[in-house]
């Protein structure tokens, strides 16, 4: 069962990255990785079995001699396990099976490396070391027939570049997924509509305001106006990093819609940069009431609603005078 879910996860990864049989065939065609190469690789399989252990040993020696890569192999047990799977990979490279299962495996390995945070440069460096070392071994083994060694290393290079491509794509796909998730999280950032006084609402807007969110915000504000019978709503955009013509347009629409319902919207928190940028791009906000900060927005709103704020101390002395 565990195997099943694991397989499902790998399949999902393939689907997500759009890697189909056809895509695999295209990648192989682009690398000119054909049947001769498979034959070539299979012909060195016995040899590969022989040099697998010493090459892998040298490989990890190399990894452990660098600070950046050493930290990934602190645990000796882990190191053993990684070595073993590396050997499996090594064998598979010359086994002649470069089917879907092989590709799935490459993607999985790429995903694991991405998850532990191994940088791409180290990943590439590892492949480079590997290619160099194996090529050396091949030329050593076929001293009398360097032609053969060259052919074999060429084929090996093709399959390894196929693998590198897949691994890097996994890295990119994971990052893209992360970006997508973060964008969604941003989008779901709720904007509370707060009632601060009778008939007065405040909307503190934080984060990027893109179309979807702006629309949501407008709907929320209009419904709140209707529900609370608000007369004045303050939209504070102190926390909005970018206000371009699109965002300004969204804000204008919200203000107009609120006005149709009989409520006044006060826009507060326009930073000096944003104010100048809006003027520079020619956005006309003259129809909208704006104030510099939330405090003056509140004061303006209170004025519109007919409130007058009187400090307690003053009032008590006035009350005393009355008594």
């Amino acid at each position: 069962m565990i195997d099943d879910t694991k397989q499902d996860a790998e399949r999902a990864l393939m689907r997500e990255m759009g890697i189909t049989e056809r895509e695999i065939a295209r990648r192989r065609a682009f690398l000119e990785f054909g049947d001769e190469d498979i034959k070539e690789l299979m012909s060195i399989h016995a040899l590969a079995e022989q040099y697998a252990d010493p090459v892998i040993e040298a490989f990890y020696q190399h990894l452990l001699s660098f600070e950046e890569t050493r930290s990934f192999f602190q645990d000796p047990k882990l190191l053993e396990r990684v070595k073993r799977s590396q050997k499996d990979y090594f064998r598979r490279l010359t086994q002649g099976e470069y089917d879907k299962a092989y590709i799935e495996d490459r993607l999985k390995v790429g995903a694991v490396h991405e998850r532990i945070g191994l940088p791409v440069k180290s990943y590439l460096g590892m492949y480079s070391f590997y290619l160099r070392t194996v090529a050396g071994r091949l030329f050593e083994a076929y001293q009398d027939a360097p032609e053969r060694a060259l052919r074999a290393s060429r084929s090996l290079m093709k399959v390894i570049f196929l693998d590198i491509g897949l691994a890097i794509d996994t890295y990119i796909s994971r990052r893209e997924q992360l970006i997508r998730k973060q964008q969604e999280a941003m989008r779901e950032l709720p904007t509370p509509v707060l009632q601060v006084r009778e008939r007065l609402l405040v909307l503190p807007i934080v984060g990027l305001l893109e179309s979807y969110r702006a629309r949501q915000l407008t709907e929320q504000l209009l419904n709140s106006i209707s529900a609370t019978r608000a007369k004045v709503a303050i939209m504070d955009i102190t926390g909005v990093p970018i206000v371009d013509s699109k965002v300004a347009n969204h804000l204008l629409q919200t203000v107009s819609a609120a006005r149709l319902m009989g409520a006044t919207v006060i826009l507060t928190g326009l930073s000096p940069q944003i104010a100048q940028a809006l003027v520079a791009i020619g956005v006309d906000l003259s129809q909208v009431q704006t104030t510099v900060d939330l405090q003056s927005g509140l004061e303006e709103a209170e004025r519109l609603l007919g409130y007058r704020l009187v400090p307690v101390a003053v009032r008590t002395s006035a009350d005393q005078a009355q008594l």
Binding site: E219, R229, S256, L260, M261
Partner: protein, 125 residues
């Protein structure tokens, strides 16, 4: 169908129903503009609370009513544009047609506005 017009003190109140056709709307316009003079009304209230759609014709007619009664000395207030209607109007760019026309959330608010303006006018007169 004819939209009913109610007289409430110095004001006229008309309630717009979803069933009103374009012709009905024009009739309402005629009637309001005429009655403002007959009753010497100081304001009219157009209640659109039950409308779930406001097309360009309705919007234009409302604005025309407001301007026409304005010429005959009465203020017009539109009452009860629903959130979804307001949003749709803004998206369609219909809101500009109503700029300059007063809009309020409910009847109470509309009456308060008209009363205030009525008093101010009275003071001035």
């Amino acid at each position: 169908m004819k939209a009913p017009i109610l007289k409430q003190g110095p004001y006229l109140i008309a309630s717009l129903q979803p069933e009103l056709t374009d012709t009905d709307l024009l009739q309402l316009q005629e009637a309001l503009v005429e009655q403002v003079g007959r009753f010497r009304s100081r304001g009219i209230i157009l209640d659109v609370t039950t409308l779930d759609v406001m097309d360009s014709f309705a919007t234009r007619t409302l604005r025309n009513i407001a301007q026409a009664v304005g010429l005959r000395g009465a203020e017009a207030v539109i009452v009860g544009i629903r959130p979804e209607v307001a949003f749709a109007m803004v998206q369609l760019g219909l809101d500009l047609r109503l700029s300059g026309v007063q809009t309020t959330l409910d009847l109470e608010e509309a009456l308060a506005i008209l009363d205030r303006q009525h008093k101010e006018l009275g003071r001035r007169g």
